[in-house]
Symmetry: C2
Subunit: 666 residues, 2 copies
């Protein structure tokens, strides 16, 4: 078969499968796979380094379909290339419950899916994280072990989302030359022509961010090939703006938004088959075309085998370290290091802001867990996420282990997801808790993708003081606790901070948020306990003798306040116990027996948290008392704010007494 | 006084007040006010159109301090210009509880503060909304009534945040030539030199988005003046990149991040006074300098008076309409229009997705409330936010009332805030509920600023079906309900949709989110009720005879499921009532008596919502049953998903029977 004809057939195989699957599902997005089929064919047959028989090969090129709605492009490719689990049956079950072919690609559903995409812009930022991880691992393990590219296929929508511009600016700054973004420039959005909402010169815009960029005809295989070849030589990241026709091949809907997000319809599909000279039955790929794709799947096998040999030839220690970190296993020394630190703290309990305690913990554990990569969204001195030994990554120099993400919280969080997805590194980075809102779509995806990404969120309440309500979280704890598979940790002192770090690192199947104070905290845990008491989410931190009349439940900085209130109530003859709840999420996972034991039987339950009540009724009951916030904060010194909003030991005591001794106080 | 000397003295007055206030507060950000004092002096003395005696003059130029941490710049200006409420005492009480001088500027605290800033990037996007509102009102009321500029002072951080690039791209596309952004290009971020995290060519980047841009020396009054003059002539929005020295005047800290976010210290302030030739006591402004500023405050008074005359000369109807819309009053006809629609629905109850019901409501009310401005983040046909009569705003043509925001949810939400802050328009715009996460920082600010902005969020649960978990909200209802002063509305059918729109419009002191389904809903409200039953957040939608054994509580699409479950339970001899809860927020505001009446006394309470349980314990109690989601959704046809996740009448009935008839089912 002549080369051009072969290319066309291979690309048309993608188009046909996409049309057929969307038609069968009665929903989905045929436009992108049909429009980008030529790009994908050239990329996968001539450039991408991968081996379907070893989809987890650490040095494979990564391919990110940032425009996740075009999922049938990816599923078609995986089937055509011979990825084991992506059978033709899966394509026929596109968008059906239980299939591996969800509406948008989901990492973990089938090998070859590198990340979960759909929410636009996230894929580009994931890819920036992958490309950064690649260079950092390259700096650690050398060209023989990690030396690959990261390719992205993105849409107008990806580039319109602000997150992508954050990630693009960072990639340009750091000169991530192994990152190649192909922009499916089809001029069409859901509402219609791009001119309805945008007139950005995307090439000039990324050039302003330090990228190499080029415009090509996205249906001309040679132009695509040349652009990819050039991009691989560039010393900067590259954007290839590939002009395409959405729904290429559909006689009436091509080039229109009608091709974007719904089945073409039986008649249009029939006519598209004629137009594309594709006379085959739905879901049928002729043997010669399938063979051509399967041979492409074999292309990089020799390189993968050579890599394997190089890997086996590595120094045993380095090989072990690479294998351990790629597997995501923690070094056994970690637990010992934390135990030692807890012993020190028990011997000499420190009064520290938990953000400072966190830095102390990091000083102790990062040397033991060198795959931990710190960072901050331009709040390094406030988030305390940089240890004294950490060198910052700089343009072209990836030997460091700390990243200045800039004022780009969303891009930071999504790039951290990409680093975790790449494997080999454990990213942790900080911003203020109130700006968790800026990161939220990426935090959600970390949870959905089950990635170990550790978000360090400091300045966690009105306790930050004078910066005022724009910077004071009140609803953020509740909002984060609401995200499934996200572990929110709010330690009460230095010991709990150490334990929470231990838990976050051990949580390998999901992200954690460690929530820390700006203000100093009184030590609460004076005695050494080998057990990680935060592990079950809640525990009795101060008990009373005899049956408790009052159970106080508190988190973080409010634990000390609750313990002070307990002293007042004890003095008044009302035996009171205090439960610290470093993690609602972990507590919710405990047995009913444990939960009931911790919730206890005291007739009066009081929750104390400098935040809103939502979520607390599950612990204190609908008739429990709550001492916290009911609205936004205010600007002022933090001690005054705590008094102003009534979050003090005295206020707790007063509220409790109004219930316990109604005659006296009513 | 020679002009140059006068300028220097006036600018130094800002610098001195900023240093003094931060010193007195022992916290704050002196660097920006000192660096940008020359810019602000030229802008306010020679360009900005304003009148301190009428701070709400509708045609005033708007000034947005996007870099809100530099709040002392704004407070100093307001004091120097003679704004009534900004006394020297307020400056002395900078960042103290109860002052008007919060850490970051807060709209409503004092006249002259146009928006609440601090979370970076938001101010630029607010300003885009203001500039857009200006042009739209100009198209409606003419050059004589609305014809002003919107000025922004922003920082590196503002431009690094993705939201600003969304807003900038839209402003360039729409050719918002009245928008002038001055970039305080001081090369310093909190972590240090900008080169740690960024090497973007900001001028080239905005030019790629269709802006005019220029670089100037931000300490040269004549360059500043010329750039502003040129910008006012441009047919495009303008970025003026003004190179400045952060902390200008501080002998040791100027040009360093040390000047950014903490007091300079007594010695440095003393030396800065010498350097700036400012021998005056803290907080003391010599009479001649204060006079020069106060005279500036009088500059535009004749223009304001001329405006007043033009306004009074307007056609009475137009004048009345302008006054009404600027005051934010709704037309009396609105309630009648909604009552008529409810009567129609009662006569012929429609089976409609609530997003389609919402469109029908809009078709009915937008003609009555012409200040309503629709829009969508490129999901117009899905969000159903465009009525048949609405024309879209286009580059240079602002006569429409619908905005194609593009795939820029965050920029959209923040620009809507700016439109509301401008006054005269009521913005409502849509995206999918899952992407409320992308808008979240702006939604929070709408709530904090008490602005009437209506977010229409469709595709509100697993009910969206095949698009899968990336697009299926499960935690978003809880997360939105957590935001103080935000009214979340989730109607159960077409009648409730009409009532929810009525409530959202009537909520003039805060934003609302109207949460709508993709899938069809069975009508629940067959009888006409004059009263808006959604008004109190929850009401009995289906009662039983005699004492209820079961109370079912549900929202939105789950109300029909709960009513079907009630029928099953009634049949089994367990009298069951159903409560519809269109708004948790409104319900929480009701009296205890009303709340208790609605919660009722049935021994078994069950909550039903295709979302997580968080927040429900306040209604169903900690031992109540909940039928909903415990994790992320899945991709598949929606009816199958409801069955798969056990959110069906049968599943509710089964769970209830396990409690009600334990011997039979256990």
């Amino acid at each position: 078969m002549p080369e051009a004809e072969k290319h066309a057939s291979m690309a048309n195989a993608i188009r046909a499968l996409a049309m057929d699957a969307v038609e069968a599902a009665k929903s989905g997005h045929p436009g992108l796979p049909m429009g980008a089929a030529d790009i994908a064919t050239v990329l996968f047959t001539r450039h991408l380094k991968f081996d379907p028989t070893d989809p987890n090969w650490p040095d494979r090129d990564r391919f990110v379909l940032s425009a996740g709605h075009g999922s049938m492009l990816l599923y078609s490719l995986l089937y055509l290339l011979g990825y084991d689990e992506m059978t033709i049956e899966e394509l026929k079950n596109f968008r059906q419950l239980g299939s591996k072919t969800a509406g948008h690609p989901e990492v973990g559903e089938a090998p070859g899916i590198e990340t979960t995409t759909g929410p636009l812009g996230q894929g580009i930022a994931n890819a920036v994280g992958m490309a950064l991880a690649e260079r950092m691992l390259n700096a650690r393990f050398g060209d023989g072990i990690i030396d690959h590219h990261t390719y992205v296929l993105c849409s107008d929508g990806d580039l319109m989302e602000g997150i992508s511009q954050e990630a693009i600016a960072l990639a340009g700054h750091l000169k991530l030359s192994r990152l190649i973004v192909i922009f499916d420039d089809n001029h069409i959005t859901i509402d219609g022509d791009i001119s309805l909402s945008d007139s950005t010169d995307q090439v000039a815009r990324v050039e302003a961010s330090g990228w190499n960029a080029v415009r090509i005809d996205g249906h001309d295989p040679e132009q695509i090939d040349r652009a990819l070849t050039d991009a691989r030589q560039s010393d900067r990241p590259t954007l290839i703006a590939a002009r395409t026709t959405i729904g290429f091949g559909a006689p009436n809907k091509a080039g229109k938004s009608a091709a974007h997000g719904s089945p073409l319809g039986e008649k249009e599909v029939q006519e598209a088959r004629e137009r594309l000279d594709w006379p085959y039955e739905p879901f049928h790929i002729p043997a010669d075309i399938l063979d051509a794709w399967r041979i492409t799947g074999l292309r990089a096998r020799p390189r993968r085998k050579a890599w394997q040999e190089r890997f086996e030839g590595l120094d045993a220690e380095l090989r072990g370290e690479f294998a351990r970190t790629m597997a995501g296993d923690l070094p056994p020394r970690l637990d010992r290091a934390i135990a030692e630190l807890k012993r020190e703290y028990a011997a000499e309990p420190p009064t520290l802001a938990s953000r400072k305690a966190s830095q102390a913990v990091l000083e102790c554990i990062v040397p033991v867990v060198p795959e931990m990569i710190g960072g901050s969204g331009d709040l390094t001195g406030s988030n305390n996420t940089r240890t004294s030994e950490m060198k910052a990554v700089a343009p072209g120099d990836f030997s460091g282990s700390f990243i200045h993400w800039g004022i780009r919280e969303h891009g930071m969080a999504a790039a951290m997801n990409g680093m975790a997805l790449h494997k080999g590194l454990i990213p942790f980075s900080g911003t203020f808790l109130t700006f968790s809102d800026y990161c939220r779509p990426a935090i959600r995806l970390a949870a959905l993708m089950r990635q170990r990404v550790i978000f360090v969120m400091t300045h966690d309440s009105i306790g930050l003081g004078e910066d005022g309500p724009t910077h004071q979280p009140v609803e953020h704890l509740a909002a984060l606790r609401a995200i499934p598979n996200l572990t929110v940790l709010r330690p009460a002192d230095a010991v709990e901070t150490a334990e929470c770090w231990q838990l976050a690192l051990a949580t390998s199947t999901g992200p954690s948020v460690i929530v820390l104070t700006r203000q100093n905290l009184t030590p609460m845990r004076g005695e050494y306990e080998e057990d990680n008491l935060c592990r079950r989410g809640a525990y009795v931190i101060a008990d009373c003798s005899g049956d408790a009349e009052v159970s106080l439940f508190a988190t973080g900085s409010e634990v000390a306040i609750a313990v002070a209130a307990k002293d007042l109530l004890d003095e008044r003859g009302h035996p009171t116990r205090v439960v610290s709840i470093p993690s609602f999420d972990l507590f919710a996972q405990q047995s009913d027996v444990y939960r009931q034991e911790i919730i206890g039987t005291a007739p009066l339950r009081i929750g104390v948290e400098a935040a809103i009540r939502q979520g607390w009724d599950a612990i204190i009951g609908e008739h429990g008392l709550f001492v916290g916030m009911t609205g936004f904060g205010a600007s002022g010194p933090y001690e005054e704010l705590y008094r102003h909003f009534g979050i003090t030991a005295e206020a707790i005591c007063e509220k409790a007494l109004a219930r316990l001794e109604p005659k006296e106080t009513d």
